[in-house]
Symmetry: C2
Subunit: 592 residues, 2 copies
Amino acid sequence: MKRVDVQRRGIGMVCEGGRSMLKVWAPEAKQAFVCTREDKLPLTAQAFGYWSSELSLCAGDAYRIELDDCVYPDPASLCQPEDVHSWSQVVDASFAWTDNAWENPPLSAYIFYELHTGTFSEEGTFAGVEAKLDYLKELGITAVELMPLAQFPGTRNWGYDGVFPFAVHYAYGGAKGLQSLVDKCHEKGLAVVLDVVYNHVGPEGNYLSSFGPYFTDKYKTPWGDAVNFDDAGSDQVRDFFIENALMWFRDFHIDALRLDAVHAIKDMSAKHILQEIREYVDELSAFTGEHYHLIVECDLNDRRFLDERSLNGYAMDAQWNDEFHHALRVCAGVERTGYYADFNGPEHLAKAYRDAYVYDGIYSETRARSFGSKTDGLDGNRFIVFSQNHDQVGNRMFGERTSALHSFEMLKLLAAAVFVSPYLPLIFMGEEWGSGSAFQYFISHSDPELTDAVREGRKAEFSGFYEDGECPDPQAEETFQNSKLDWNKLEAYPHKCLHEYYTFLIAMRKDLQALHSGDRSGVRTSVTDPSGMLQLYRSAPGQDLVCLFNFTKQQQHTDVPGLPENAILLLDSAAKQWEGPGTAPQESPSRI
Amino acid sequence: MKRVDVQRRGIGMVCEGGRSMLKVWAPEAKQAFVCTREDKLPLTAQAFGYWSSELSLCAGDAYRIELDDCVYPDPASLCQPEDVHSWSQVVDASFAWTDNAWENPPLSAYIFYELHTGTFSEEGTFAGVEAKLDYLKELGITAVELMPLAQFPGTRNWGYDGVFPFAVHYAYGGAKGLQSLVDKCHEKGLAVVLDVVYNHVGPEGNYLSSFGPYFTDKYKTPWGDAVNFDDAGSDQVRDFFIENALMWFRDFHIDALRLDAVHAIKDMSAKHILQEIREYVDELSAFTGEHYHLIVECDLNDRRFLDERSLNGYAMDAQWNDEFHHALRVCAGVERTGYYADFNGPEHLAKAYRDAYVYDGIYSETRARSFGSKTDGLDGNRFIVFSQNHDQVGNRMFGERTSALHSFEMLKLLAAAVFVSPYLPLIFMGEEWGSGSAFQYFISHSDPELTDAVREGRKAEFSGFYEDGECPDPQAEETFQNSKLDWNKLEAYPHKCLHEYYTFLIAMRKDLQALHSGDRSGVRTSVTDPSGMLQLYRSAPGQDLVCLFNFTKQQQHTDVPGLPENAILLLDSAAKQWEGPGTAPQESPSRI
């Protein structure tokens, strides 16, 4: 029962050459028109509440939609050149691609670099990212992950307040800028991952409810009513997001989508929306001959999201594994408050190495209930791990990166812990040189009441921390500027050394099958009591690796049972080579 | 991570001999006591918010629970002899069982008889049901399904307003009465199915929220906040219902549970509560050596509820299939309003015969969305079908049974349609003789405001039908009395004939493998256009059956391709033998 044609976009304004076709869903409207700056043309009612018309608009033309005497931008607008409240602009989505030779690698080859387009470069644009692709290539990463690009209010936002899921933000360079960036990435052998938000829509400029039942009050989410994936009218809401996923792959040559917080997608249909997206994306693959990856952020510890369709699974390719992060950061000494309270350090990190989920059916004090399922049989490259990402950095009051919280020695240990894991590694922009810039929470809403509400909410969230200083104003331009990477520091001490260390780690991971293999059957761990030394064993045919982690500030001595005499020390993170204190012979503090 | 001991009840008052032990969950309470009529004894705080104490109370003793100066009945009370607001009573749940020889048959042998204890017999008690067991046995049914028995306010209620899930209603005969009934059923070779409600608690006498977070506002249900199966504290809520399910099987020898409206159980845990109930019930089976069946009422058309655990399914044994009913009733001429609007008659009935779900992924106008999944590979005896049940009868303004809505000829056709299906047949008490009694919606709340609200809600629901008369007052004793079966009429015309017809049908189904086999691979259908004649083919080795249904009022002529010359007419529902008009030779109106 296919409702969506994977070969071409079927919603919004489709413009090819000098002709265009508009299709919009407005099931309750009695009349619908498309308005240009000069004209107003009626749309024709179609089945299932759609309205459409062939038009003679060209790329660059402004238009809006009028429903029963009210005028709105197009919910499926590809471009909002002024702001989220005003005119939509016709975009010709064709592009002179030069990436015919590009082949999307399997996820097992992905080494993710998460970046926020607005703060990654001084320019804050796609062009700014393009200028750094050689740098990323040399670092060794293989996949650039872009935080959400959908048009949000103003020019400063993490991206999770986007309200036009089809419109690449104008300030970043719009649709053409993104297409150019992807083309360049592919030229350099880099895959592109795009973060998309299908669980909510931002609080300013959200006109979806004026068009149809995009939301349902059957479920509560952190952002209010849930997106309507299983109530009356949900076929059309589902199609809106399915069309969106297909567009990025087909028209923007994106290689993988990272679906934000899918635990907030509430869907009790017999076919879950993620299953349906999977089906359509696979159909697109069959049409284009390309592979596309679907990655989810999910905090349910539920293997159903990864299991195959034949097992009633949602068949997502991979998921973020926050619990690895939490266990790791507790090892590093982060305060055990909030979600960190559930993690005890090395024992839990060892469990994350073995079992992916720490909470795999056991009782969680923070959640006050038993939580999670076992991941037996799921390959390591179904999970993505990190020592920080935008969330864990930005959701602190001051947006401190690990570099502002931990010692240089610890930074190296954190990095190694990620790169020797059986999971796919992700680093957050600037992490590879220990950038000292914060990544703070910033917005640029035009609605003063909303701005105040966000400000107050932010203050309230951190009310326990007032003694540490004033919460940065999310609306202030300065907060945004403070969050930009200061690339001038890259060559300075100790940033240059850390950068070289990351480059070495990445190369080592690529080189050693025992590291990049997702086979978890060879993963063993042990934790030495009471020193808390963690030993991780990884192996592949002909390769047996032992990784020793000392998260304490003291030198530790440890025995490695069965270590052969001809064992080679591949990396010692505390070595003088990496600006460390050096390690006593035959001893191994802070090293792998 | 087993939290519940399947071998004995671990919640509420457990009394054996002269000793008793009380355990109650009250995680927010600062102090807890058990109060008797003379005394007040402190309970001791245990892990996870439980309180417990050994006591010297005996069976029959009254007790209540005091939390921080407020007194309540025990949420897990086994007996409420006065009402839902007052004293709980200690029950010794042991019983002198005589059913050692009983073996619960497989579901494929179940022929269900759904009854409401209060209105099935003049007495309105378990003793009243016991007195009719020989009658049921002679009719040929194999399983007595009891509508919910949990203590509800007053003495008149369908049972879905129960507020003490562990307390068998005092007015019906209480725990001992039920144990005696089950023992007698087993003696006569009848299985017992109990309807239990785990998706909500009734509106009067619900003290659960005074004890703990039994509910969550994360989800909305038709009854308000959802039962908390996946929020903080949900382990203990889950255990409360798991203990309940285990109790019926272990302490009451119930053979199957019918879980009410599981689509209203909202649980996004990695392990769904139904999966966990399945696991514990299987563990109990391993302990007792008995089989127990779990049946769900579910309107999601989602095979996940039936699929095995290894397929991420919930592994329920069977589900009610309302869509078969809806399609059948439209064939019989019921008004196509409400949920009936989605059904077109013979074509959809044919689909239900073949595919179980009519809506198996196709678009539903009533729901305004695509709905359901395919049931390929699921045996026919995973589905339970009926031409009416308490819901479809009682949810009409006047509570009319099919006998008040359809002709005598149609009643016979409806019955046959159910018994020749590849699914498990269920009849609603009195259906087998076309009882003319209504089954109306009745309550007996003590709260006048609530009573008024129910009255007004009922009137509003049927406001479109006012011209047909006044909505019966649900609180009136008369409404309850009108709903009792009038067994005196059984012997009168045409009831006696219909009763014999049902007896014949049931015997025929048991006799013919082609009918009682759940193998759906031999099921074929065809619908003749424009007459609407439906042909159903069923087969087993050496048996090929053709069933012809004429739902019109006209005689129809139909060809049965390939009918051998030696074919035998097994049943003609229009024959004079069954008080019908007779069928012209070689023609087959209203017959199978």
